[in-house]
Amino acid sequence: MGMATILIVEDEFITSMALHESLHRMGHKVVSTVSTGDAAVIAVPHFQPELILMDIFLEGSTDGVAAAQRIKAISDVPVVYVTAHTDPDTLKRVIYSMPYGFIAKPFVDDNLKDVIDKALARYQAKKNL
C-alpha cells in the first residue's frame, strides 16, 4: 500500500508521538496531530487527510465517535479507531458508526500497519465502485 496522508486524533502525547514515528516509518505522512474531537472536525477540511486515526476518549466535550460522525457529514475520509476502551457499550457505538478499522491499545506496529493497510484498501475499493 502506498503512502497516505494521515490525521492523528490522540490526547496522549507519548502515544501520538509514537504513532507519528511509526506511521512515518511505514511511509505515511502525518498531516497533523490534534487532541480534541472539535479540533479534528476543523482539521479535516483544512488538511484533507486520506485517513484518520481516532482515539475515542478525548479531551473536551466531543469524543472520537461523535467527532467521526460529524466528519462523516463533511468528508468520506476513512476513520480507524485506536482505543483502550473495549467495553461492550463503546464497541456498540463504534460498530454503529461503521468505521474502516479498529485497533485496541496497546498495539504494536504490525497491528497498526495491518489495520491501516486494510482500511486504505477498503476505501480505495469503495471509491472504485
Binding site: 496522549e12 508521538m17 504513532l19 511509526s22 483502550a84 467495553d87 504490525d110
Partner: protein
C-alpha cells in the same frame, strides 16, 4: 396442588367429618331421646288399658258391695224370700248394672240362683256350665276372711275371659252370719274390649295363654315381663311399637297377655327431625365452606395472584425500578408485598452499585491499557532511535509481551466473572495478534485448537506469556529463509483441573546442544519460570520438528 384446591379439599374434608360426627352424635342423642319418649308414651297407653281393666273389677266390686250385704239377698239365699227374683232380678237389672251374670250361692257353695244376660241384645241368656263348674268350693272367690271383704279375679272360659267379683252375703247391718256368696261377672267380649279401647283411645288385643303357641313377639314379651303388673315395651317394626302386660287368673296363674299397639309417630318424628338436622348441618357446612372459599379468594388468593403476577412481570422485564402496587388492608400479604418491594429496592440499589463498580472496573482497565500503550509507545519511540537490529528485536519482543499482558485485561473485562478469563477466547486473540505480527507471507500457517478453559487472571497472564514466547520463537527460528511450514497450537483441558499447552512445528528444529533448563535466552527462561509458577512442567520433543508441552494445574 394449588392453594385454592388444597383449601377446597380441606374445607370439604372438615365439612364431611363435621357432618359425620354431628350426625352420629345427633342420632345417639336425638333418637335416644325420641326412643325414650316413644317408650314412655307406649307405656302410658298400656297403663291406661291396665287401669281401665282394673276399673272393670272396681265396677264389679261396687255391684257386689251393693247387693251382697243386703237383708233381702240374705233371706233369698236362705230360702226365705221367694219374691226376690221377681222383685230384683229382671234382665234390665243386669243390663243396668252392666254385668253379664249374677250367681247366688248358699253357705255350702251350692248355686241357689244364677242369671245371665246378653248385654248386646239385653236379653236373658243361659249360664254356661263351664262358669258354674268354675264355682267349685275350692274357688278362692268363695272364701272370705271378713264379712265386708270383696274378692275379684279373672278366669278363662272357652268363649271369652271373664272378670268376676264376689262378696259374702250378709244382712244389711252385717250382724248375721254369712249366708252365702254373691258372684257377679263381666265377659271381656268384643263389645267390652271395643268400649275399653274407645275409652282409653288405644288399640289393644288379648292373647290367651292357654291356647295355641304365641307369636314370637308375644312370647318374647311374656318371657321379659317380670310380674303381673309390669309393662314391657318393644318396637314391632318401623311403624308399630307395642306395650305388653300380663293378666293372671284367680289362681294367680298367667292367663292373658295384653298387647297395646301404637303407631310410631314419635319415632318417625325423631327421624324426620334428624333428617332436617343433617340437612341443616350440610347446608350450614356448604355455606361455611363457600364463605371460607370466598373469604380466601377475596382476602388472600386474589391479592396473592396480584403479587405473583407483578413479581413474574418484574422478573420477566428485568426492570429493577418496578414495584408491586399497594395492596389494600394491613395484614401479612401487605407485609409480604412490602417485603418484596424492599427486596426489589435493595436489588435495584445493588444493581446500581454493581453498575458503578463495572464502570469503575472499565475505567481501571482502560487506564491500565492506556498506561501499557504509553509504555509500548515509549518502546516504539526508542526503537526508532536504535540502529542495532538485535536491540530493535528486543524492544519489539518487549512490546509483544506488553500486548500479551494487556490482552488479559481485555478478556478480563469481557468476562462475566471479573476475576476469571476464558482462556480459549484469550488464546484465539493472542494467536491472531501473533499471526498478524509474524506472518508476512503465506508460507507459514498457524492453527489453533482450544478447549473451553477458565482460569484466574494471574494464570492467564502466565499462559499468555508462555504462548507468546513459544510462538514468537517458532516464527523467529523455525522457518529460516522463507521456508514453509506449520505451527500447531493446542490448549487442552485434561480433566481434574489438569491442562496442557502444546506448541508444535515442523520447522528446522532447535539446536542439538540446546538445554531448555540451562538456556540463556530470555524467552525460554521465561517459559521455564512461568511453567514452574503454574506448578507445571515443561517438556520438549524434537521428533519431526519441535514440540513444546507445558502441563499445569488450574487453581
Amino acid at each position: 396442588m394449588s392453594l385454592r384446591k388444597r383449601t377446597l379439599l380441606l374445607v370439604a374434608l372438615i365439612m364431611l367429618l363435621s357432618v359425620a360426627t354431628l350426625f352420629v352424635l345427633a342420632r345417639m342423642i336425638l333418637l335416644g331421646s325420641f326412643n325414650d319418649l316413644e317408650n314412655d308414651d307406649t307405656r302410658r297407653d298400656a297403663l291406661r288399658v291396665q287401669e281401665a281393666l282394673a276399673g272393670e273389677f272396681d265396677s264389679l266390686g261396687a255391684v257386689v258391695g251393693d247387693w251382697a250385704p243386703w237383708t233381702d239377698t240374705y233371706d233369698f239365699v236362705r230360702g226365705d224370700n221367694e219374691a226376690y227374683i221377681d222383685d230384683n232380678l229382671q234382665d234390665y237389672t243386669l243390663v243396668n248394672l252392666q254385668v253379664n251374670f249374677m250367681i247366688f250361692l248358699d253357705h255350702s257353695a251350692r248355686v241357689v240362683y244364677a242369671k245371665q244376660v246378653d248385654l248386646d241384645s239385653e236379653s236373658d241368656a243361659a249360664v254356661p256350665p263351664e262358669l258354674l263348674a268354675l264355682l267349685a268350693p275350692d274357688n278362692p272367690l268363695l272364701h272370705h276372711d271378713a264379712v265386708d271383704q270383696s274378692s275379684m279375679g279373672m278366669a278363662l272360659l272357652p268363649d271369652a275371659p271373664v272378670f268376676m267379683a264376689s262378696r259374702p252375703i250378709v244382712t244389711s247391718d252385717y250382724a248375721s252370719e254369712i249366708g252365702g256368696t254373691l258372684v257377679v261377672g263381666r265377659y271381656l267380649d268384643a263389645t267390652k274390649l271395643k268400649e275399653i279401647a274407645s275409652k282409653t283411645k288405644t288399640s289393644f288385643s288379648l292373647r290367651r295363654l292357654d291356647g295355641p303357641a304365641l307369636p314370637s313377639d308375644s312370647q318374647a314379651a311374656l318371657n321379659a315381663l317380670p310380674g303381673a303388673s309390669a309393662i314391657y315395651v318393644k318396637p314391632l317394626d318401623n311403624d308399630t311399637i307395642a306395650g305388653y302386660f300380663r293378666l293372671d287368673d284367680l289362681h294367680g296363674q298367667p292367663a292373658l297377655l295384653v298387647r297395646v299397639d301404637k303407631s310410631r309417630t314419635i319415632f318417625h318424628q325423631g327421624q324426620k327431625t334428624l333428617r332436617y338436622l343433617v340437612i341443616s348441618i350440610i347446608l350450614t357446612g356448604v355455606a361455611f365452606g363457600a364463605m371460607s372459599v370466598l373469604l380466601l379468594e377475596t382476602s388472600i388468593l386474589r391479592r396473592l395472584r396480584i403479587i405473583t403476577r407483578h413479581v413474574v412481570q418484574i422478573g420477566h422485564s428485568g426492570d429493577r425500578t418496578a414495584r408491586l402496587p399497594a395492596l389494600s388492608g394491613k395484614d401479612e400479604l401487605t407485609q409480604l408485598a412490602g417485603a418484596i418491594n424492599e427486596t426489589l429496592a435493595a436489588l435495584e440499589k445493588s444493581e446500581i452499585e454493581r453498575h458503578r463498580s463495572n464502570i469503575l472496573l472499565q475505567e481501571i482497565h482502560h487506564r491500565i491499557k492506556n498506561s501499557l500503550q504509553v509504555v509500548s509507545s515509549l518502546l516504539t519511540l526508542q526503537t526508532g532511535r536504535i540502529q542495532d537490529d538485535a536491540a530493535v528485536q528486543v524492544l519489539k519482543d518487549g512490546q509483544s509481551r506488553i500486548q500479551t499482558i494487556a490482552l488479559v485485561h481485555e478478556k478480563l473485562y469481557s468476562s462475566t466473572e471479573p476475576s476469571l478469563v476464558n482462556l480459549g477466547a484469550y488464546t484465539e486473540s493472542l494467536v491472531d495478534n501473533l499471526k498478524r505480527s509474524w506472518t508476512h507471507s503465506d508460507a507459514v500457517t498457524i492453527s489453533l485448537k482450544t478447549d473451553s478453559v477458565i482460569l484466574s487472571a494471574d494464570q492467564a497472564v502466565s499462559v499468555g506469556l508462555i504462548l507468546n514466547e513459544l510462538i514468537s520463537n517458532t516464527f523467529k527460528h523455525a522457518f529460516p529463509d522463507g521456508r514453509p511450514g506449520e505451527i500447531n497450537v493446542e490448549l487442552r483441558d485434561l480433566g481434574e483441573k489438569q491442562y496442557l499447552i502444546r506448541v508444535q512445528d515442523n520447522g528446522a528444529g532447535l539446536p542439538a546442544d540446546l538445554n531448555i533448563e540451562q538456556t540463556k535466552t530470555l524467552g525460554l527462561q521465561l517459559v521455564n519460570g512461568l511453567a514452574k509458577q503454574l506448578k507445571g512442567s515443561l517438556s520438549l520433543c524434537r521428533d519431526e520438528g519441535t514440540t513444546f508441552e507445558v502441563r499445569f494445574v488450574g487453581e
